[in-house]
C-alpha cells in the first residue's frame, strides 16, 4: 500500500508539471461573481407547479419571482417582486396587485396578470394532479374547483334546478369517504362486478365518475343509490347535465378568486381574511409560469411537457437557465430582461447536488464551494474552531416530534402520553446526541414573528411518574408494549436508543425500536401501524397554520388517529378573524388545546447548520432559508 501511495504521489506530481493553473479555484468564481452552492440533491423537476421540496425551491427562487420578495434582513418586510405594489381591503379578503410594467420573461415577452391567472388555473386543474395545490386553497372557490365539487356549478348554481337545491342536495355528489377506494385503484370499471360497480360509484360520487360510468347509470339506475325523493325524470336530467360536462374543464363556472383586471393588475379574492398573503406569494406554488411557453409544449393540464427542458425554460426572475446536467450541476446566469437587473450583483449561480454532507464539507474546506447545504453534526465543533466566521447556526422553521398512535392500547390514555412526554429529556438529547445547537421545543409551532408558542412542556421526571401513577400501568409499566418506529437514516437509531433509555430509566417502560427504511416507515405511519414514531415538519410559510392545519381529522399528514372538534373549531374561528392580533391569539389557544391533549411530543425546533464563505456578502440568516439571491454579492 505504501508503495502504491508513493507511486501515486510521483505520478500526480509528474502530471502536475504539465498541468496549467486550475481554473476551478473559488477565487476565480468569486471574481466572475458566480456563486457556487451545495444543494443536497438533484431536483425532482423545475416546474414551480409540480415540485414540492426545498432543493427545488432553492433553484426556482433564482429563476422565478413571486409577486412579493423576501427582505434579507427583516422578515416582516415584503419587497416588490413581480408586483410593484399591492393593497388589501379592510378585512384582508381582497387584494389588488399592481405588476411591474417593465416586468419581462427571459425571452423578452411581458409578464402580465394573465400569466398569473394561467398559472393558478394550471396548478388547481384537477387532472393536473399538483401535490401542492392546497397552498392555493386560500383563494375563493379554489378548493371546490381542485376537488371537482362539480355539483356546485352543475346543480346548486344552475338555473335549470333553481329552487330545488334543498331537495337535491341529499344526492351523493361528493362520494362516500367510508368506502375504501384503494381496492379499485388497479381495475377498470368495466371489469368490476355489479356489486363493486355500485360500491365504486358510491365512493366516487357523481362528481368524480367519468363518461362511461355516467352512461352506465343512465342505462341501469340501480347502480347509483338515488335518494327516494328524487324521481326518475330528475335522475335522468341530472345525469344528462353531468354527461354534457363530462371531461370538461369547469374553470369558467368555478369562478375562482383570481382575475386579471387588466394586463398589469391582478385581483385576488380570498375565502377568509389572510393578512399573510404576501408571504404566501413568495412560495413557488404562487409563482407565475409563462403561458405562451407552457402552451407551446402542451396543454394547460398536461404535466411533464418539454417546457422545463433547459433549452426551453423561460422564467421571470433575476436569473435564467444556462445549463442543466443531470446529477452534475445546474447553472443559471443573469436574465437580461429582468426588471431590476441593475441591482443584481451576481452574474450566475451554480447548484451542485452534493448528497454526502462530509464530501460537501471537504469541498468547502478545500475552497470548492461558497455555501454548503448543511453541515454534519460531527463537523460542527471542528468548523467552529477552524472556520469560526464561516460556520452558521441559525433557527430554521421546523419542528421535530414524536407521534403517538392513538389507536394503540395504552397510548389512548392521556396520562400515559403525558407520562412519556414529561419523561423525555430533549435538552440532553440535543446536548449529547444531536449536538446541532437545536432549541428545546415546548410546542408544535416554533417561535415566529409575533407568535409566541403556547406549549409549556418541559422535562420533569417527578411529574412523569405522577402521571404514570394515575394509569393502570402504575404497578406494572412493563405491561405497556410499545414500538418506537424510526427511519434508517443516519443518527436515527442513536436518537431512538436515547429515548428508549430515558423512558426505561424514568418510567420503567421498555419500548421496542423498529428501524424501517424510508418507504416502509412512511407506509407504517400512514396505516397507523406503530406505537410511537419519530417525525418532523418544515413550515411552508411563516404562519402558525402551516403547523396547525395538519392535525385536522382526515388530513393525510395527521397520522396519529387523534382529532378534536374543539381544536378544529378554534382553527375555523381563527380563519375568519379579521384582526391579525385576534387571529394569532386564537391560534395560540388552538395550540394550547392541542398540547394539552398531547397527541405528539415536541422534541426540538430545527437549527440549520451550514458553512458560508467569507467572500459571500449579504447572506443573512433567514427562518425559511429562502435567500433572495438578487441581493447577494461576492467580494474577495
Amino acid at each position: 500500500m505504501k508503495h502504491a501511495l508513493q507511486a501515486l504521489y510521483f505520478l500526480t506530481i509528474t502530471l502536475s508539471l504539465c498541468h496549467c493553473k486550475s481554473e476551478s479555484s473559488l477565487d476565480n468564481y468569486t471574481r466572475e461573481k458566480k456563486l457556487i452552492l451545495g444543494n443536497s440533491n438533484e431536483p425532482s423537476g423545475l416546474d414551480p407547479q409540480v415540485v414540492t421540496g426545498v432543493i427545488e425551491s432553492n433553484i426556482l427562487r433564482s429563476m422565478f419571482e413571486g409577486l412579493c420578495v423576501e427582505d434579507p434582513l427583516d422578515p416582516s418586510v415584503h419587497r416588490p417582486g413581480a408586483a410593484s405594489s399591492w393593497t388589501p381591503n379592510a378585512d384582508f379578503t381582497e387584494w389588488i396587485f399592481n405588476l411591474q410594467t417593465n416586468g419581462k420573461w427571459s425571452d423578452g415577452k411581458p409578464v402580465t396578470a394573465h400569466d398569473f391567472v394561467f398559472a393558478y388555473h394550471r396548478i388547481l386543474s384537477p387532472s393536473f394532479g399538483a401535490k401542492y395545490a392546497s397552498m392555493l386553497y386560500y383563494m375563493e372557490g379554489a378548493e371546490d374547483y381542485n376537488k371537482r365539487h362539480n355539483d356546485k356549478y352543475l346543480i346548486e348554481n344552475n338555473s335549470e334546478y333553481a329552487g330545488r337545491w334543498e331537495e337535491l342536495k341529499t344526492i351523493n355528489f361528493r362520494g362516500d369517504e367510508e368506502v375504501d377506494m384503494s381496492v379499485f385503484e388497479k381495475t377498470e370499471f368495466e371489469d368490476l362486478s355489479k356489486e363493486d360497480k355500485i360500491k365504486f360509484i358510491k365512493g366516487s360520487g357523481l362528481n368524480k365518475i367519468g363518461e362511461s360510468e355516467l352512461k352506465a347509470i343512465i342505462e341501469d339506475s340501480t347502480l347509483f343509490a338515488w335518494p327516494e325523493n328524487i324521481d326518475a325524470p330528475t335522475q335522468q336530467a341530472i345525469l344528462k347535465t353531468y354527461l354534457s360536462h363530462a371531461g370538461k374543464d369547469m374553470w369558467d363556472m368555478a369562478k375562482v378568486g383570481v382575475a386579471a383586471v387588466d394586463d398589469y393588475t391582478l385581483k385576488i379574492n380570498l375565502r377568509s381574511p389572510i393578512p399573510f398573503l404576501p408571504d404566501l406569494t413568495k412560495h413557488y406554488t404562487w409563482f407565475a409560469v409563462p403561458e405562451h411557453t407552457v402552451l407551446q409544449y402542451g396543454t394547460i393540464s398536461e404535466r411533464r411537457t418539454k417546457w422545463t427542458e433547459p433549452e426551453n425554460l423561460v422564467s421571470n426572475g433575476a436569473f435564467k437557465m444556462k445549463t442543466w446536467k443531470f446529477n452534475y450541476k445546474i447553472e443559471v446566469h443573469q436574465n437580461p430582461y429582468y426588471w431590476d437587473i441593475d441591482n443584481v450583483k451576481l452574474n450566475g449561480i451554480i447548484f451542485l447536488p452534493i448528497s454526502n454532507q462530509y464530501t460537501e464539507a471537504r469541498m468547502f474546506y478545500n475552497d470548492q464551494l461558497h455555501v454548503t447545504y448543511a453541515l454534519a453534526p460531527e463537523l460542527i465543533e471542528y468548523s467552529k474552531e477552524k472556520h469560526p466566521k464561516s460556520t452558521r447556526q441559525e433557527t430554521y422553521l421546523g419542528t421535530n416530534f414524536l407521534r403517538f398512535n392513538h389507536n394503540q392500547e395504552g397510548l389512548d390514555d392521556l396520562n400515559v402520553r403525558k407520562a412519556i412526554a414529561y419523561a423525555t429529556d430533549s435538552e440532553s438529547l440535543i446536548k449529547y446526541v444531536l449536538k446541532g445547537g437545536q432549541q428545546v421545543a415546548t410546542g408544535i409551532v416554533p417561535p415566529m414573528g409575533n407568535y409566541k408558542a403556547k406549549g409549556e412542556l418541559s422535562y420533569d421526571p417527578v411529574k412523569a411518574k405522577a402521571y404514570l401513577a394515575k394509569t393502570k400501568y402504575a404497578e406494572n409499566p412493563g405491561a405497556l408494549k410499545i414500538t418506537l418506529l424510526t427511519t434508517d437514516k443516519e443518527g436515527a437509531k442513536t436518537v431512538a436508543e436515547a429515548l428508549q433509555a430515558m423512558w426505561l430509566e424514568q418510567l420503567g417502560i421498555d419500548v421496542k425500536i423498529e428501524q424501517r427504511e424510508w418507504g416502509s416507515y412512511q407506509t407504517r405511519m400512514s396505516e397507523l401501524d406503530y406505537g410511537i414514531a419519530t417525525g418532523g415538519w418544515i413550515g411552508d410559510y411563516p404562519d402558525p397554520t402551516t403547523f396547525l392545519d395538519m392535525w385536522k381529522k382526515g388530513d393525510g399528514n395527521n397520522r396519529t388517529g387523534w382529532s378534536s372538534e374543539a381544536y378544529e373549531a378554534k382553527l375555523s374561528e381563527a380563519e375568519i378573524a379579521k384582526d391579525p392580533t385576534t387571529r394569532l391569539q386564537l391560534l395560540q389557544d388552538a395550540e394550547a388545546l392541542y398540547m394539552s391533549e398531547m397527541p405528539i411530543i415536541p422534541l426540538y425546533w430545527y437549527t440549520s447548520n451550514y458553512l458560508v464563505h467569507q467572500s459571500v456578502k449579504n447572506w443573512h440568516p433567514m427562518i425559511m432559508k429562502s435567500q433572495p439571491y438578487k441581493f447577494i454579492d461576492l467580494e474577495n
Binding site: L8, S16, T52, I354, R362, W518
Partner: protein, 303 residues
C-alpha cells in the same frame, strides 16, 4: 465458436427477461410506492398521480404495458425525477464507464503483477507482504479509503480536487479508490491460479528441459494461471460500472451507482427497471467476453 456465442446470447436474453420480471413484481411487493412522500397527498391528488404514471392499472396490465413500451424502445420516465429514464442513463452511463474502466485498469495493473510475483516468490517476504496488503485492501472499505485520499492527497496535490467531476484529473482518486479493492481480490486469485499451474508436471518438465524461467512463465504458466482471474474479471467489471455508489457520493461523481440505490429506496419503478436492464445486458456481455477469452486460453473448453 459462433454457435457458442449465439447460444450464450440467447441464454442471456432469457436471463434478462427473468431479471426484469422479477424486479418488476418484487419492487411492487415492498411496502410504499413511488407516491409515498413525507408530506402526504390528498386522496384525489393521489388518484390523479396514479393515473398520470399509469399506476392505476392492475399489475399484469402494467407489466404488459411495460414490455410493449420497451419493444418500442421506451423505458418510461422516472417517477421521482420526472425525467426520461433513457436520458438519466444516457448522462450517467458514460461517467460510470470512465470510472469503471479506469478502476478496472488500476485493478489489473496492480493486482495481476502482484499476484504473479507473489506466486513466483512463494512464501517469501514479498509474497507475505503483498498478500497482507491485499487482505487489507479487501477489508478496508472504499468509504474509508476514499475520504483518506481526499483528505491527505487531494489537499496536497495542486491539481487534484477533493471532489467533483470536471477535468480528467478528477478521475484519478476515484478510480484508485474504486480499483483497489478489486486489485486486492485479483492479486489473491492470480496468485492462487499461478501457484496451481506452477506445481503442474508440465512446468516441471519444462524446467527439467532447461527452458528459461521467463519463457516458462510467459509462454506456459500465464495462460493457465490467469484463467480464474479472467473468470472473476467479467462480473467484477460489471460491478465496477454499476456498483460505484459509495465512490460516487464520496467524490461527487454524476455516475450510475447512486441511481441503482436511490431508485430502490424511492420506489422509482421505471428508473429501477432501466438500471436492472442495463446491468443485465452488461453482465451478459462481460461474461460472454470472459468466456471467449477463457476458451482462447484453455483449449479444453473449445470442444
Amino acid at each position: 465458436m459462433l454457435k457458442t456465442i449465439i447460444d450464450r446470447l440467447l441464454q442471456g436474453i432469457i436471463v434478462i427477461v427473468c431479471l426484469l420480471t422479477l424486479t418488476f413484481f418484487l419492487i411492487r411487493m415492498i411496502p410504499g410506492d413511488p407516491l409515498t412522500d413525507e408530506k402526504a397527498m390528498s386522496p384525489q391528488v393521489r388518484k390523479e398521480n396514479m393515473r398520470i404514471f399509469h399506476l392505476d392499472k392492475s399489475q399484469p396490465v402494467q407489466y404488459m404495458h411495460y414490455w410493449k413500451n420497451l419493444f418500442k424502445g421506451e423505458m418510461g420516465k422516472s417517477i421521482k425525477k420526472e425525467q426520461p429514464v433513457s436520458k438519466i442513463i444516457g448522462q450517467s452511463f458514460p461517467v460510470s464507464v470512465v470510472l469503471g474502466v479506469s478502476g478496472m485498469l488500476i485493478a489489473i495493473v496492480i493486482g495481476i503483477p502482484a499476484g504473479i510475483i507473489s506466486a513466483l516468490k512463494h512464501n517469501s517476504l514479498i509474497d507475505n507482504g503483498s498478500m497482507f496488503i491485499a487482505m487489507l485492501g479487501i477489508s478496508i472499505p472504499s468509504f474509508v479509503i476514499g475520504p483518506l485520499f481526499a483528505k491527505f492527497i487531494a489537499t496536497q496535490v495542486p491539481f487534484l480536487k477533493v471532489a467533483g467531476w470536471g477535468d480528467p484529473f478528477d478521475w484519478i482518486l476515484p478510480s484508485i479508490t474504486l480499483g483497489l479493492g478489486t486489485a486486492a481480490y485479483l492479486a489473491r486469485i492470480t496468485r492462487a491460479g499461478m501457484l496451481d499451474i506452477l506445481s503442474q508436471d508440465f512446468i516441471r518438465t519444462a524446467q527439467a528441459k532447461g527452458v528459461s524461467q521467463t519463457s516458462i512463465i510467459v509462454k506456459h504458466a500465464l495462460k493457465g494461471g490467469l484463467v480464474p482471474a479472467i473468470a472473476f474479471l467479467g462480473p467484477a467489471f460489471a460491478m465496477l460500472i454499476t456498483g460505484s455508489f459509495v465512490v460516487e457520493t464520496i467524490f461527487q461523481i454524476p455516475g450510475m451507482g447512486q441511481h441503482f440505490v436511490n431508485a430502490t429506496i424511492e420506489r422509482d419503478y421505471f428508473l429501477l427497471q432501466g438500471m436492472v436492464l442495463l446491468f443485465g445486458i452488461l453482465i451478459v456481455l462481460v461474461n460472454l467476453a470472459a468466456d471467449i477469452l477463457l476458451t482462447y486460453l484453455n483449449p479444453r473448453l473449445r470442444s
